[in-house]
Symmetry: C2
Subunit: 420 residues, 2 copies
């Protein structure tokens, strides 16, 4: 396909999305909810078609890369389609963010100022393998009154096209079907074309590797909300409940080691290092966790690989975990703020003062006291679904749901006021 035709496809779809967004912004909640429920039903009713298209993708991936973990991310089945449909139904049951009056006041001139939540317009999202992102993001976009331009990965292209086809047909009785657009060309040129369309796309959310996200940030003419990596820490304080700490670390490390809210590093207070680390290492070994450690950790637990300087920066995408002994909570906080990626950080402690100070001084989207980092997730937070997890500070931070796809507008009522 020529560069021109790539650009043509992206431009045409972005324009259609912009047109649809004008209608979508004024649609009432009940109509949007009906469309979402209709899309949920359609996904279940068209499961054979979607699964057949998904099979093509899986087959192709297996042929090219063999039996890789990516296949599990790509694979759809009846259960996963059910979850996708459920997310859409859950979204239909959530309050509509559009039109929410966030605050309001009357000025000394008697002007009544309302700060009202309104849609962005068109959301552009660039993502990878998981096909459920397609229905989740399309659903969140519709509910928040936005049109969406979806750009998924080549490995999931047949699945994504099928899901969008089914959803567009299902919503068309209630909303413009052009509200959901999918870019069928999955090349880097298509991404580049999207990033230049600031007149038609209002914000871009990139999901993927740190390198890819940097590329988007540096090349986009459209404002970007970045999602990021999760080099997450759990700090075990001197007064931690050992059972709780071990249970939480196992959950955060083992349950799904490739996701961004898994734990990658454990920091242990020096006072309890000699008693806690051997217990932790024994528990982790049952789950075949590969442990690395600082010199002090190695001295205590032996037979452990040494963690090098670059290890402390790394977001292990497998069952590796590094342990470091720290002399104080302050040292833990400093370490986290230096090496962390500002995603999810936790302290296990039983005293309020340290809990409060830790949550205050650790710079991250989500800071936990006595809970697993795995909860940093739109669904777990109660948002129905999520667009991604923002690790930057502008506009949105943490899991992004409906509200994060809205902006605000001031509406001011007067009766002839002029400025003096």
């Amino acid at each position: 396909m020529s560069l021109d035709s790539v650009y043509e496809e992206v431009l045409l779809k972005a324009k259609k999305a912009k047109e649809a967004s004008k209608l979508l912004a004024a649609v009432n909640s009940e109509t949007k909810n009906k469309a979402l429920r209709s899309a949920a039903t359609a996904i279940i009713e068209n499961k054979e078609y979607i699964l057949k298209e998904n099979e093509k993708d899986v087959k192709m991936l297996r042929m090219t890369l063999g039996e890789v973990p990516l296949i599990d991310r790509l694979l759809l089945n009846q259960e996963r389609l059910g979850e996708m449909a459920n997310s859409l139904v859950e979204l239909s049951n959530l309050p509509d963010p559009v039109g929410e009056v966030i605050e309001g006041w009357t000025t000394r001139h008697g002007l009544e100022i309302l700060k009202v939540r309104v849609p962005f317009g068109v959301i552009g999202i660039i993502y990878e393998a998981r096909p459920n992102v397609t229905s989740d993001v399309a659903g969140i976009a519709i509910k928040s009154g936005n049109a969406v331009v979806l750009k998924g990965g080549q490995e999931a292209i047949n699945s994504n096209i099928a899901i969008v086809k089914v959803m567009r047909k299902a919503i068309s009785d209630f909303l413009p079907e052009e509200s959901i657009q999918i870019i069928e060309n999955t090349s880097r040129e298509a991404v580049k074309a999207m990033l230049g369309l600031q007149d038609y796309i209002d914000i871009i959310v990139p999901r993927g590797s740190a390198n890819f996200i940097r590329y988007v940030r540096e090349n986009s003419k459209i404002p970007v909300i970045e999602t990021g990596a999760g080099n997450n820490h759990i700090f075990v304080n001197y007064d931690a409940d050992f059972d709780m700490a071990i249970k939480i670390i196992i959950n955060a490390k083992v349950q799904r080691p490739t996701v961004c809210n898994a734990v990658r590093k454990v920091l242990v207070h020096n006072k309890i290092a000699r008693s806690f680390i051997p217990l932790l290492v024994k528990s982790l070994e049952k789950y075949k966790v590969r442990i690395k450690g600082c010199p002090k950790t190695i001295e205590i637990a032996q037979d452990i690989e040494e963690a090098k300087e670059e290890d402390w920066y790394e977001e292990y995408m497998d069952l590796t975990l590094a342990i470091k002994v720290v002399d104080s909570m302050e040292e833990a906080i400093e370490h986290i703020n230096k090496y962390g990626t500002k995603h999810s950080e936790a302290i296990i402690t039983s005293n309020i003062e340290d809990a409060k100070l830790f949550t205050k001084l650790v710079d991250a989207s989500t800071v936990y006291v006595n809970a697993s980092t795995r909860f940093t997730d739109g669904n777990q937070f109660g948002f129905g679904a999520e667009v991604g997890i923002s690790t930057q500070k502008l506009h949105a931070r943490g899991p992004m749901g409906l509200r994060e796809l809205t902006t605000t507008k001031y509406v001011v009522y007067g009766n002839g006021q002029i400025r003096d």
Copy 2:
């Protein structure tokens, strides 16, 4: 000065600001308020010094450009210093945004989630002639727990350095004086250096011409909150109160024609065009407003210059105003959404239905019903002061005060929860 030394200055000051920001984030409200009041007092006490430095700037500008309107923007006097001090006192009386719990809920696992307002860290602001921006922005930054790197224009450099010097000394009993940094090199190279320091500066707010803001957006590695131009409209509906409409248009056009919240275009409903336009033109002529018009306007009022296509895009920075007759409110809205800059838009009408529809469908930071556009201003909104007026949709829209210089953090309390 060599490029290296420009970069050195900017880097050193940004680093100092980052260090100071860590302390500033944890300072309590009363301490910040004392620092602000101390800075207000110091500005008054050091008025001779500041006015003397300001005189140097004014003299230089007069020598190079002659008697230009810019001089009025640059000029300080006792009254203006009083206003600057007042803004700082007002800020000290406003609630502290830091630590505000915006929302909170308990999940089905019993996790308690709090969404807490926290400072960004370091704010970078790049602005032009008006020296009051220096104290306003430094004050807002401090109150919101942020350090600030100020980069003002060459024409105000002596004034800005003097104000910062006085403020730094005044806050030093309460806060790190390094919280306020001013870049003394005012070249474009200094701007470029700032835009690359994403490790030390958290957000950049550019103020100035559309070209300059585009330059910043396209060259910044730091997230940018754009402020923008004000090609603002007042739409006079068929049922408008003529006296009110004329009073509001005169205020919005004449009071201060160079500011961004002044009106540039008036749209008149066809039904009242023949009766209203002659009255409006007569009133505007008293204030020496230069009127341009669409063909229909010219037919009605005669002796009026024709507005060309490019006129409808232009943000007149003088006493020029263009008038256009429209057949319906829908046409007015379409015109505004096509030619406007999404700053401030107004309707003069007496029926609720049109008022509601207009505020809903016009895409702008602030939409007025029966009031002057001149109220789009942090001070008029009750924010004490403002960092600028955002005309983009990400993070902040409209006048930016204390809250707009904060981000959020999720703090999650559990008692051992793991994800199932």
